[in-house]
Symmetry: C2
Subunit: 99 residues, 2 copies
């Protein structure tokens, strides 16, 4: 879904740290109140570098999450929007897998 | 190389943050002067969370590296030892790919 690539939908928030034929690594940062446009992530590892609270919208499903810094989790392929609903900046790294 | 798994060779430095059938995510920390035992990494993404200086020994090849925090790089499969030759703690995350 090239037109939903987050580096194109939200270039102020997503920065490419590294890319080869196996992976692409994205740095994401935003501030309280910020909201992304809808964008696509392939299967990825999500590493949290700050504590944060976000509202994630996937289709009709709306989910609020509270996450601590220093965690790693699996993020399955999805199209979503994210909104920073907390009082702290969000800083995460996505390691996208090229299946 | 299960006997060269870094969580077994250097359990004081390596901690598993996450694992599934696609990846294993390792947190690594050490302090100036510390040295690992020889251990094996599969193809991995290396994320640097601190500035550091290390001496990496792969077979007969000895290489000193200086790395900044906030970088991502590809780390091809290898057996190595690492020594913290700087004045700062090393903190990195390995996202190991299960090929």
């Amino acid at each position: 879904m090239p037109d939903l690539d987050p580096t194109l939908t939200d270039p102020d928030k997503y920065k490419v740290l590294f890319e080869n034929d196996r992976v692409r690594v994205l740095d994401f940062r935003d501030t309280p109140g910020a909201k992304t446009k809808p964008h696509h992530h392939p299967n990825s590892v999500l590493l949290t570098l700050s504590d944060f609270q976000r509202r994630l919208t996937v289709g009709d499903n709306v989910r609020d999450v509270t996450v601590e810094a220093g965690k790693a989790q699996w993020s399955p392929e999805q199209v979503h929007t994210g909104e920073n609903i907390g009082t702290t900046d969000t800083h995460v790294v996505f390691v996208e897998l090229k299946d």
